[in-house]
């Protein structure tokens, strides 16, 4: 590995790093515009509605994980041991969420279940 090509790889890395970092820095800088410094964070944490939404998001996240594991682990285990013939079909179904974008799924769910 000669010196020039290593320099080029460093350059690639630095560009990537800046791409990651600058939008986060921009967001942080924006949050610092309210005076005194960090007061925006105080406002957010004092807002009871913020705590409520955060807890709600957290609960929804945890519930999704629990339901997914409860549904998928036994199914995968069962298909592997007892119904290997179903495997291609089950695999096809598990690919569907990648094929159907979330917005389409939401559209379909709303039209199917909201009267």
């Amino acid at each position: 590995m000669n010196r020039l090509s290593r320099l080029a790889w460093w350059l690639v890395f630095i560009i990537g790093f800046l791409y990651f970092f600058l939008p986060l820095l921009g967001t942080f800088a924006f949050s610092m515009r309210s005076q005194p410094l960090f007061s925006a964070y105080a406002v957010v944490t004092d807002d009871p509605q913020f705590a409520e939404t955060l807890i709600y998001s957290f609960i929804v996240g945890v519930l999704t994980i629990i339901v997914s594991i409860a549904l998928i682990v036994p199914t995968a285990y069962w298909v592997r041991l007892r119904l290997p013939r179903l495997r291609p079909y089950i695999e096809f179904i598990t690919l569907l969420p990648f094929v159907i974008p979330p917005i389409i799924l939401v559209f379909g769910l709303l039209r199917t279940y909201s009267g």
Binding site: M1, S5, R6, W9, W10, V12, F13, I15, G16, Y19, F20, L22, P23, L24, L25, G26, T27, A29, F30, L71, I72, P74, T75, W78, V79, R82, L83, L86, I90, I93, L95, L96, P97, F98, V99, I100, P101, P102, I103, I104, L105, V106, F107, G108, L109, L110, R111, T112
Partner: protein, 293 residues
């Protein structure tokens, strides 16, 4: 003894023809019900809706209306944005992954980058749109610098959206392509060099053909990833940019007086494009795995 061994053999169920199916299928009922209720049924609803007119008669008219200028340009814009960010993110993501894996950079940078990529590839939607607005928007962090360079970037434009999409596109490329780059064995390069191959010849005749299915497959996956993205575009442009996911959002909200059948056809068109790209991805991925045994 033969009976006992046949029970543990992989072909055991065949030894009991009467119980080939039995009650084993009950084990997959919860999964099948879930998939049917929350995946298949909603999609089937959209599909049947797309094939009916407002009076419930079977028709293909909804699909014909996808060629109307407004809808056709939404598809064109979606495809363009997805292509640009898939190819751009694919090339840059590959270079970045190669830099930390084989570019002679310190080892800890590789782990740091992988962790960062795991986070960034999921950093989409409202937070991402806000981050870009704070960075490149009217009073963003980098806006004065960009203006002094004589560049004007409209945050509601396609270019701005593509820049924002790149934020999750190239990290995803890094994550998926890294195992393929790891799979390039040192012996192959050494063998090529011993036979007098130049670096270009090694890439042209060894590394590139081996990586090609992975590169193509991952780029297609990135295409699908950008094609299905909605929240980032909605938040960044305030819902003004005309791409398919935003057009569907308008249908959901009932913002436009429109035939619901057209909305369903719009959705099914997306499903078809996604199905083709995911299908191509899994095909290419299977081909790529031949080299990783």
């Amino acid at each position: 003894m033969t009976a006992a061994s046949s029970l543990t053999a992989p072909g055991a169920p065949a030894a009991r023809p009467g119980r080939r199916f039995g009650f084993a299928w009950i084990g997959v009922v919860p999964f099948v019900l879930f998939a049917a209720g929350f995946l298949v049924l909603p999609t089937a609803y959209l599909l049947t809706g797309s094939l009916q007119d407002t009076h419930g008669q079977v028709t293909l008219q909804n699909y014909a209306r996808l060629s109307e200028p407004n809808l056709a340009s939404a598809y064109a814009a979606s495809i363009e944005i997805s292509l640009v960010t898939a190819v751009g993110g694919g090339i840059f993501g590959f270079l970045l992954a190669y830099a930390v894996i084989a570019g002679g950079l310190p080892r800890f940078l590789r782990n740091a980058l992988m962790t960062f990529c795991g986070v960034a590839s999921n950093f989409a939607g409202v937070p991402l749109a806000l981050a870009f607005t704070f960075t490149l928007g009217a009073s963003g962090l980098l806006t004065p610098l960009i203006k002094s360079l004589g560049i004007t970037l409209n945050i509601y434009s396609k270019t701005a959206l593509e820049l924002a999409y790149m934020y999750f596109q190239f990290p995803l490329m890094v994550l998926i392509i890294a195992p393929a780059i790891d799979g390039l064995r040192r012996d192959w390069r050494e063998a090529a060099e011993n036979m007098g191959a130049t670096s270009f010849q090694y890439w042209r005749y060894v590394a590139f053909p081996i990586l090609l299915p992975s590169l193509l497959g991952t780029t297609i996956l990135l295409f699908g990833n950008a094609f299905g993205a909605q929240a980032t575009a909605y938040e960044l442009s305030g819902g003004t940019i005309n791409i398919v996911t935003i057009a569907i959002t308008r249908q959901i909200r009932g913002d436009v007086v429109n035939d619901p059948g057209v909305g369903y056809a719009l959705a099914m068109g997306m499903v078809v494009i996604m199905a083709v790209s995911i299908g191509a991805y899994s095909l290419l991925q299977r081909r790529a795995e031949r080299w990783r045994r």
